[in-house]
Structures are given as C-alpha cells and as structure tokens.
Symmetry: D2
Subunit: 253 residues, 4 copies
C-alpha cells in the first residue's frame, strides 16, 4: 500500500508582490516562476523526489526520501537567491490526495497565502527512515496515442494544444475525484500522476472516460518504488512497453 509524502510549496504573498508598487513586467514574472520551478526540480529531484509546476505560485511535490533538514535547506536556498520566499508544508497519507489535503490544511492554519506576515513556514512531518518501504510511491505516466501523427503534424499548434488540454483537464479531475490521485501535465503530451495503489481496471476506466468526454486516446505505464524517481522511471519503461505492445495499461514488474 502506498504511503505518499507530499509537499506543498507556496510562494509567500506572491500575488500582491507581482503588482507592487505597480504591475511587474510579465516576462520577468514568467522567468522568475519557471526558474524557481527548475531549481526546485533539481533540489527535490536530485534527492529522488518529483515536483510539478501546477500553478507556479503553488507547486506540489512528491518528496518521499527527503527529511525535514532537506526541506529546510531548500527553503533557505530559495530565500538566498530569489526576491520571494516559499513556505513548505509536508504531510503523508495512504493516498496522495489525502496527504495533500492535510498539508494544505496545515499551511492554511498558519495564515492566508496573501498574509504579508506569514513567511517561510516549514511545517508537517516526514516519514521516518524506518517506516519507508519499496511500495510507498506509485507513479502513472500517461501519454496520448500517436500525438504527433494525430495532432502535432496535422492541426494548428493551438488546436493540438486544445486537444491535449481538454484531455488533461478531464483526466486530472477524474483521477482525483474517483481515485484520490494527483495528475500533472508535464509537457508534450505527457501527464504524470501520483497515485494510491490502483488496479488495472481503475486505469482503464480513467482512460475510457477521457476518450468519451474529451475524445483523446491515452495509454499509461505504471511503476512503484521507494521514491518518486524510482517509481517514475519504472513507469517510463512500462510506458515504452505499452507503446510497443499496443496495450492501454502496462504495469512495471
């Protein structure tokens, strides 16, 4: 059974900062946001975690393997190098959705995202080394069947983007509502989901739902491991197997 450790990363009082004393250049905001995300990708990712850009001012990470001191160091490193600071709230649960709900609650209790006195909160508990197992994280890696042939090389770039986006919006809602999973668009035609332990049937249902509602055909590779990186790498290999075999769902062995 999974035991996902989820960290909510929230830029402190970001909205007001972006328009104070007057609206800042959009390109600088975009650069700031995407570089902060890139840095967190390296800081979290090179310790075995995954972080997703989500809304950029609120990012969600799967952090099994990172302890409190890792979180503190990441927070300090951001504070040393950016004009903004981040709060980090970590929680664990049998499903990623529950873990994130707890992490959010905990942070909301410390004040509003736009409270100018709430800065650099670091709260919650990580999983002790003794309690970690090889099945703590389940990662599902989805992509669109023949996205290049069906869309990229045929439609206008925005029409393709609409298709991908409708597929993603449908999938992320379904996987959350039905399966307590957190699904993130990661570029191209790829969606990575942090899931609880799910059956093949659950994945098939989700894929069918997306085909029906959004008309986009997905396949998925699923892996599990002690960290997001391990589970995610297995999922990538499983997705390659699914592509080769033509199966809609493939579980890494």
């Amino acid at each position: 059974m999974t035991n996902t450790q989820v960290t909510l990363v929230q830029i402190d009082n970001y909205g007001p900062w972006t328009v104070t004393p007057e609206p800042r250049r959009e390109v600088d905001l975009q650069t700031l946001q995407s570089r902060l995300y890139a840095d967190l990708s390296q800081l979290i990712g090179n310790r075995g975690g995954y972080v997703f850009f989500t809304r950029f001012d609120n990012m969600i990470a799967v952090t099994n393997g990172l302890d409190e001191s890792d979180h503190a160091m990441i927070q300090e490193s951001v504070g040393n190098r950016y004009p903004v600071t981040v709060s980090l709230s970590v929680a664990t649960g049998t499903t990623p959705a529950h873990a994130l709900a707890d992490a959010t609650d905990n942070l909301q209790d410390r004040g509003s995202a736009q409270d100018k006195d709430r800065r650099e909160i670091l709260c919650g508990r990580t999983i002790g080394e003794d309690h970690r197992t090889d099945e703590d994280v389940e990662i599902a890696h989805f992509d669109v069947i023949d996205a290049t042939g069906e869309y990229t090389d045929r439609l206008s770039a925005f029409e393709t983007f609409i298709e991908i986006e409708q597929g993603y919006a449908t999938l992320m809602k379904e996987m959350h509502g039905e399966h307590d999973a957190l699904s993130f668009f990661v570029g191209g035609d790829n969606v990575i989901a942090a899931c609880p332990t799910l059956t093949e049937g659950a994945y098939l249902d989700a894929i069918d739902h997306v085909t029906e509602v959004a008309g986009v055909d997905l396949r998925v590779g699923v892996g599990s491991g002690k960290t997001a990186h391990e589970a995610g790498m297995d999922a990538k290999h499983a997705l390659e197997e699914a592509r080769a075999s033509g199966d809609a769902v493939w579980f890494a062995e």
Copy 2:
C-alpha cells in the same frame, strides 16, 4: 485592427530524444524545458514580445517588433547552449489564430516534428517596420475573482488547481472557437490571451460561458499596443482598474 505576428517555437525531434537511448530522468527534462522557456522569455520578452510555455516542446510567441535577424539570433543562442535545437516559424494575420495556423502549416510542410533530419528551420516573414501600427496587438489579461479567498485559502491545493484548470480549459477553447484568440495559463489564477480586436460584449460572453460551464468567475483587462509588452502592460493596468471598480471587463484607454 490587429496585425499579430505569431512565432511557433518547436523543439526538433524532442519526443524521441527524451527516450534515447533510454528514458531520461524526468527532473532533468523538467529543468531543461522550464529553463529553455525562461530563456526564451528573456530573449523574446526583452524585445517587447511574449512567449507562452504551452506544451513546452511547442511554444507560442507573439513577436511583433522582432525581425528575421532577431529570430535567427534566438535560434543560434539556443543551439549554442542546449542539447536540443529549435525550429521557428513566423506568420502574421488579422487574428492570432490565423497567424498561428499559417505558421504551423508552413513548418509542417518542412517535415514532421519527429523527423530527425528536420532541424533548425527558420521560416516565414515578419512585419516590415513601415507596416507596424499602435494597434497591432491586443492582449487580454484574465484572472479569477477572489481566487485566494474562494479557493487557495479554503480548498486543498489540488482542488483549487482543478477549478483553475477547468476554468482555463473552458476559456481557451471558447476564445479560440468563437473569437480566434489564443489564451494561455501563465500561473496563479492568470490567463493571458492574444486577441483580435474584440468588443466588450465578446469578452462578457466568454466570461459568462466560463461561469456557466466551469463555475469559475473571471474578470479581464484589455490593452492594445505596438508590441505584446505594451498591450500586455496596458492590460495589467486595466485589470487593476477592473478589480478596483468591480467591473468584469475593463479596456485600457
């Protein structure tokens, strides 16, 4: 009347590269993609343009004010600093959607996005300095009314994200289908759209449609200018006015 210059940025043969010789670490791909986007933000943005991350392997830019040599320099700079190369296709049109469709067509004619021999294409024509006007670009900046109070400080971080995402998926499809506009999520609760010249009624219709279908309440500030930066900065100020006044739509004067 608008005369939007749109550039499609496509990473050459990116999908195959990400899994050759075997799947690359996801965190490195995320870092690569977001930094490439950040670099393009600076390169294009500091010449008055806007670029949107879209699918990351296919990015869309509004580039009024950048000529062919600017495009060539950007392409060369990326090639000098990344393990991947980009193709750039530029086109102009009375609506952003038409311009992008032409740019896409033109690039597709040169080969598939996954053709390993199609590298660093630079095609299309920019608007001559003499033909540029102060109304070439119209930018609409949407945000969600009281997103922090309604969502961020109340719901779990993923539930909030679902709401924002459903709102965006609905808006981007509606604005494209009905108004030939290209709308991009830019973080937080913000969507920036490159639009043709639209009436207040058109914006109100789009906002109503999103309320109805996705249950998310938007407002919008609209600006126009010679470049995306000028139009966008006006739109930001207009959005501040809309926020202060309580109006759903505000046009910069």
Copy 3:
C-alpha cells in the same frame, strides 16, 4: 579611433547582504553571482555588448549599441528577479580605461558601494546613434599557445591554473598600465581585452612582457567594429588565423 562605451555594474550593498543576518551559504552566493552574470551576458550580449564577470559584485561591460532605455530595462529586470539590485554607470572615452574611470567616479559620487540607501543608480550618457562608427570598439582575443599540450594534459589542474593565472595577472596589469586597455579572463586559456586603437608593436610588447615575467606564451587576434560583438567575432576569426599561421599577432581585415 575607438570610442568605447563602458558600463560599470555594481551590486548594491552586496558585501553586508552576504553576511546578514549571518553568513549565507557559499554555494548560494556562488549560484546567485554566476547566474546574475549569465543573465547580464544574455541581456547585454544579445544587444551586441560584452560583459565580464570581473569581481562578480562589480562587473564591467562594453555596451556600444545599448542606449539609456536598454540600461533601464536591464536594471529593472534584475530587480524583478533577484534578491539584490544593481547600479549602472555608463561613460564613453577614447580609451576603455578612461571611460571606466569616469563611470566609476560618477557612481562613487552617488555614495559608497556599501551605502544602504544608495540603490539602483542609473547614471551617465550613452553614445547617440549619429555619433557611432564602425571603429568604436577594438577587441583583442588572447590565448595561450598550446595550453592543452603544455599544461592541461601534463601538469596537475591547479599547476595549470597557476600558470594561466600568473599570465593573466601580468597581462591585465601591463595592458592597463601601458595601453589603457581592460583585459578579462574569460575561461580556459582565453583573455579578452577592450582596447583603444593599438599597433601591432603594442601587442607584441605586451606578449613579450608576459613571456618574460610569467613564462607564458600568448598569441592574439584583433578585431574592430561598431559593437563589442562585431569586434569580438572578428578577433576570434583573427585568432584562428594566428593559430594557423603561427603569427603572434593577427589583425582582422
């Protein structure tokens, strides 16, 4: 005759910031400094200028082709994305050394580098478009003759570094004291100098001096142009010619 436009970039009150409230992690300072330099390289470099890291908290740029509004945009962009701000002072002169001396004077008049109330100064005047010529900038690109065979592949990495460093320390002092030129180590075994119009004899003298004092054998390619980029690219090609021909000095035609 050259007419070099030089910009001094100084991080405001940086020393105190690095130890407030207590010393910050060295790796974060190194990351901050080198990324700020990389950003300035892009911002200045993609407008035809060159910037050198120098002491990192004080950087020196050759900015022919950048006007006041370019400088203002660069200053604003840094302020939007870093926890520190920069002051910029620009001056022009018949020699790079005189221009820099004027730029420094001007900034010093506004307050100390460690004055906490002196922030984001932008002072000095750029060269009007009408007064620019194709000979405004002279760039000399030096490298060490057979550095890989003589040093890198033979000595320990630090012994090699000592040789390069002694050579550079000797060259930069000589070129400044004798020729009013500003010479910068740019990595590997390369030194790039912003020079006034110099004769072949002057370059030969400098090279001989370095051989004599530091025992390091240099060669140089020299180019001139309207911008640092143009002059520098000519200098690079000239250096390739010098390497091929065995000459110690080569002027681009």
Copy 4:
C-alpha cells in the same frame, strides 16, 4: 589531520567545440560556462561540497560526503541538459594539492582533454563512510582588509580589480607552493582555500607574503569539518571574528 576528497571536473573536448564549425558567440559561451558552474554549485553544494569555477572548462571541487553514485548522477544530469559533457575524476589525500594531482593524473591517463573520443570518464574512489572524520576538511576564508574603503570607493573599478587580482595571484601560488593548499577567488575581495592542517604561523606567513609582494592586506578565518560546507561556514564565522577583533588570523573553535 585532513583527508580532502577532491574532484576534477573537466568539460570534454571543450576548446574545439567552441570554434566548431566556426567560433561561437562569446556571450553564449559565457552563459553556458557560468550556468554550468551554477548548476554544479547547487548539485555539489547542496550535498555539503564546494566547487570553484577555476578556468570554467576545468573546475575543482571539494567533495567530502559525495559518493560514486552522487558523482554519476551529477554527470548524467549535466549530459541531459547541456550541449557538452563532463568527465569527473576524484581522489583523496592528506593535502588537497596531492589529492588533485592524483585526480588529474588519473584523468590524463584516460586521454587528452581535447581527445574527441574521451567522453564522460568517471574515475577514482571516494572516502568510505566509515573512514570519514570531523577534521577531514580545512577551509580558510580570506578577504581584503577594508577593500571597499581602500579600493572600491576610491580607485577606478579596474584599478581595484588589478589590486585584488595581484593579491590573489600571489596568494594562490604561495599557498600551493608552500602549503599544498588550493586557493580560489570567489568574487568581491574573497578567496577560499582548501587546506591541509596548517598552523597560525603558516597563515601569517602567507598573509605577510602577499602584503610584501602585492601590497594587499589580507585577513583569514579558518574552520574545519566533515564537509566543505561545515568547514567553510565555520571559516566564515571565524572571519567575522577576525574582522571584529582586528586579528589577521582567527581559527573557529
């Protein structure tokens, strides 16, 4: 007694790459080099190590606390995100200079820095966890006494730079020749040295030598620890004590 683990980072075949097929834009090379250094700072630094930019194409790191798998991950991450690759050679020794000499030898045995078939070498051995002690690393942090008052606020920016540079060139050679230490300029008026266990007298001698030869007055704080970060942070605090007390040398307790 110290037991420093030193890693030599060498960009593979970099010189030829920078001029193939013809010389690349200098600003792109500068951006590439400084960002690669920034990335290594984060990758190595956030594991407790220190890396110094040195010649940029050859960087030197103190890597106590990083094992072979950390090195492999760093090498892979660079290869995934840059147009160039790096070789890493690690060695340990009772002095940093000996360790680096061994690391260099070992890499030179695998081929020339400009051998186009020698790519991504990973060689040498790290210190086993059981053999690590709290005194493995000694770091000395030097700065110039009243650099701002004596130089930055008085002389032209280049004259100041000349003074700092002559001081550094003298110190780095002396500390290597007399004390088997590796000293690196890290910006501003700061030099950080990886040292074997040295007496106060040794540091005083080095400081006197620099005053005599280069006319630059230094002070130094010294720390030791299990990692470069621990030793370096102690050295920073010791330097603050030296500044407050007026002593030329201060050892952290």
